[in-house]
């Protein structure tokens, strides 16, 4: 039998046979956890606004992000965050917590290989592409807006 055809048939068969994760449940979990993280960010913003009425919106937003980053990294260090993530799925990956967790988890994991090539280099194993692509995009946007 033709190998390519055999493989295509097999992949289709495996696709059918593999257990599916429950759509409703995982979407609901993602919505709930992701929404809750954002609501927490909003609460931090509101508290800051009431204490520092003169602070501009961008700074308040940045502080809200920082608060979530700090909590995520501490929870990652305590070994709790991955349990929340297992429940929330994309609900923890898509908010800024996913970014913070990817840096912290790599730092903790690879420190055994030393501070330079372990912690320093591999810290960006997952977050590196995010920063690289983000900076690249901001460069393009900046240069375009300079022209127009």
């Amino acid at each position: 039998m033709n190998k390519k055809l055999r493989n295509e048939n097999y992949i289709r068969y495996v696709e059918r046979k593999s257990p599916k994760s429950s759509w409703f449940k995982s979407l609901f979990h993602a919505f709930l956890v992701g929404g809750a993280i954002c609501v927490f960010g909003q609460m931090v913003s509101d508290i800051l606004k009431s204490y520092f009425p003169l602070m501009d919106l961008l700074t308040i937003g940045a502080w809200a992000s920082v608060s979530i980053i700090v909590i995520t990294i501490i929870l990652t260090g305590l070994g709790v965050f991955d349990r929340i993530a297992r429940f929330g799925g994309a609900g923890t990956v898509v908010p800024i917590s996913g970014f913070a967790n990817s840096i912290a988890s790599c730092a903790i994991e690879f420190k055994k290989e030393g501070l330079v090539f372990g912690l320093g280099a591999k810290m960006f194993y997952i977050a590196g592409p995010v920063i690289a692509n983000g900076v690249l995009f901001s460069l393009i946007v900046g240069l375009i807006s300079l022209i127009f």
Binding site: Y10, S26, S105, F110, I126
Partner: protein, 334 residues
């Protein structure tokens, strides 16, 4: 001379004996269905070591020591060890051999290493190369996770069709003469690739390899699955085992209730490993405890061990290659 039967099966002229066997497993495996068969369970799976790679090595050491102890052998009685693990450069078995100044035949067969080392060692011993030889194989969940997947603390959801790398190491001591179950036939498997590239779906990737090996073995020996008391695949998991049944059914070979998958049976459903265990340690610990004990007390007389391995490289996978897989078979009789 060892005899070749059919296309790829070899019959040993002088069957060799497995005179001792043992395993050292992690705590999660120790809570599984085989808990009664595991004599040595680690409470803390770092075993007091600083890194998970070192912990895996310690598992190797402990299982080797315990097994030799149970057979009243010393390390200096061994001619060499045959074995491997799933980490890069076979670090666990290499460093274990270094620490005890042992000769080593290192094999990489991914999760198929247990049956591969049994096959290689039995052929070597039966043809006069060595008298007492240890086969040593294992894996560690956390060490495998950081090499093949994500950091442990990284928050992601595991796919429902994924498997859990078993923590533990198993050791069999093979001798030319001695009491114990005998290895009579071996069959080296073809490297098989049915185009699966999803590294989470190992069961589906490896099932075709087990299928090819079992099919050619049954054709070569003119036997059927019912001629054996137990047919054990290595770590296909629940999904992979179901696929293997389907694939064999198409060739009119039906696996009955004498078929089991070590990976699927290693954990309970509520341990949330989804499809079951995987890794080189999976078939190593199940074979060296549960299967060997049943062989010794003659509950099983003829057993086929078909450990399967995904010869996967994360580098080549990122370059767009699919996963080649392999399965080696050994027939053990008592």
């Amino acid at each position: 001379m060892n005899k070749k039967i059919g296309k790829s099966t070899y019959e040993l002229e002088h069957p060799v004996s497995i005179i001792a066997s043992g395993a050292y497993v992690g705590s999660k495996e120790g809570c599984g269905p085989f808990s009664d068969y595991f004599n040595n369970v680690a409470i803390d799976d770092t075993l007091g070591e600083k890194s998970f790679e070192k912990a895996e090595r310690k598992f190797f050491e402990m299982s080797l020591k315990e097994t030799l102890f149970s057979a009243r052998l010393k390390i200096s009685d061994l001619d060499y060890i045959v074995g491997g693990d799933i980490l890069n450069q076979l670090v666990s078995v290499n460093y274990t051999a270094r620490d005890y100044s042992l000769a080593l035949v290192g094999l990489y067969g991914a999760c198929s290493t247990m049956s591969e080392s049994l096959a290689v060692a039995s052929i070597m011993v039966s043809s006069g190369v060595g008298d007492i030889v240890a086969c040593l194989t294992g894996s560690h969940f956390s060490a495998a996770e950081r090499q093949y997947r994500n950091p442990l603390e990284f928050g992601n959801q595991r796919q429902t069709y994924s498997q859990w790398t078993a923590t533990g190491a198993g050791c069999s001591v093979i001798a030319k003469n001695g009491d114990g179950p005998k290895i009579t036939r071996v069959c080296f498997g073809k490297v098989t690739d049915f185009g699966i590239s999803d590294i989470a779906n190992m069961g589906a990737a490896m099932a075709p390899a087990a299928f090819e090996t079992l099919k050619s073995f049954f054709i070569d020996t003119k036997t059927t699955p019912d001629d054996y008391d137990l047919i054990a695949t290595g770590d296909l998991g629940k999904l992979g085992a179901d696929i293997l049944r389907d694939l064999l059914k198409k060739e009119k070979i039906t696996l009955g209730s004498n078929y089991m998958d070590c990976g699927h049976s290693l954990f309970r459903e509520e341990q949330k490993t989804f499809q079951g265990g995987s890794g080189a340690g999976c078939s190593a610990v199940v074979f060296n405890t549960y299967i060997m004990e049943k062989l010794k007390n003659k509950e099983f007389k003829k057993v086929l061990l078909v450990a399967t391995g995904a010869l996967m490289s994360t580098t080549l996978n990122q370059q767009g290659e699919t996963i080649p897989c392999i399965a080696h078979l050994v027939q053990i009789e008592n």
